[in-house]
Symmetry: C2
Subunit: 271 residues, 2 copies
Amino acid sequence: MCELLGMSANVPTDLCFSFTGLLQRGGGTGPHRDGWGVVLYEGQGIRAFRDWAPSVSSEIAQLVSRLPMKSCIAISHIREANVGAVNLENTHPFVRELFGRNWTFAHNGQLADTHELALGDFTPVGSTDSEWAFCWLLARIRERFACGDSLNCDEPAYWQQLHQWCNALSPRGVANFLFSDGRYLFAYCATKLSWITRRAPFGEARLSDSDLAVDFGEHTTANDIVTVIATNPLTTNETWHAMSAGEFIVFDRGEIAYRAGDTQRNNSQTQ
Amino acid sequence: MCELLGMSANVPTDLCFSFTGLLQRGGGTGPHRDGWGVVLYEGQGIRAFRDWAPSVSSEIAQLVSRLPMKSCIAISHIREANVGAVNLENTHPFVRELFGRNWTFAHNGQLADTHELALGDFTPVGSTDSEWAFCWLLARIRERFACGDSLNCDEPAYWQQLHQWCNALSPRGVANFLFSDGRYLFAYCATKLSWITRRAPFGEARLSDSDLAVDFGEHTTANDIVTVIATNPLTTNETWHAMSAGEFIVFDRGEIAYRAGDTQRNNSQTQ
């Protein structure tokens, strides 16, 4: 399988501490040796780093872990391949432009028969189930908001629709998703995702996968709000919140903007 | 303005030597301080590195210049901004997926009133004339090959069409383009582009912008063919070929697959 990491913050924040913990699991403390990737947003622009090499031994990953590149939204992934060869085109996160925004998508799990899903103009470059599911999701969004309808990304009705599409993919297997349009961080949990929101008063955090601790009080202001979400909690001395199966959360600048359980799960169908 | 760098090779080759020369021009030996970017293909997968910081002082650029990442196609750009703020979304090369391929585009020059150009489903994320022209070009390609027509990217008729679209953009200003679909490297010259093909017997090359020389004979085999193309020649002791105004060249694994002058330039119109 794989592991996911995401961040949503109200001030540009570097991912160094959390990423340092995650990259250990890519061949060090964890078996996810088949590549890694991270997308860091700066406004609508992105930096994307990826490698098919294990993150624990990747020189590019080392750079990402120590260079304080500041983002309000970040998504990262370390891969243990099941579908698709180990190469760059199969390395998450995947990125596509839609409506003038960079959309980013990463997946933990496996989905069956995704090639049955009808795509629009988005065509997978690689051969993973994950990228196919992403293309399907984007095609649904484009279709839903085509014909000049104004896209209001700031409304619960829209987020509810995204949730339904995730629910529609979920019965095909294991569907833990982190994705973003550069404005919001969307998290869908099928089996395993945990999050933590750090805000004043900040304290010390200790990584579970590396002998590293940070006192966030030394690096933050009283107004900072930073949420980190991961497949497995990254620290040992903090309380993380486990998402439930079928739950969907929209993070906006570190805070929860929308949250819904799996009530609609049985009413949805894969298109 | 800006400077361009491209590479087409028949064996995976690193860009370290040429990129080391180019990055000096981003705030060192040249004035192109407003960011830089590079896309390195591995098959259809890509690594993309970009920064709004000057390349000469960018830690990410330093990594790219010393890490031997091997590609058969690479496109790089250092920016001196004219249209669009200095930020990541305005940093070349731009990347979009079309027909399941990663397309990459970089531009040296300036084009007037590109917002008049009708786009299809490709929407610019940033505010540059360059990204708009790229979106327009992709929209034309999709339109031309839509409706189930098979796309034969290996035929002169297709390359001639690409040339005509470049010609159509050219009257709007200065249009030096490097772009790729991951299979071919396309070069369109309006004012300034030079290329060199290195093959056996390989010799020594000396950078013009850095006190660095390399003996390619020590790093190559007898069958290697590597073409490098740049706004200005990167070495002092080799003969580079200057492209003429309106010329279009398709490079395939280091060799010229198609080459045409500006004969059709006056017959084309911007759509």
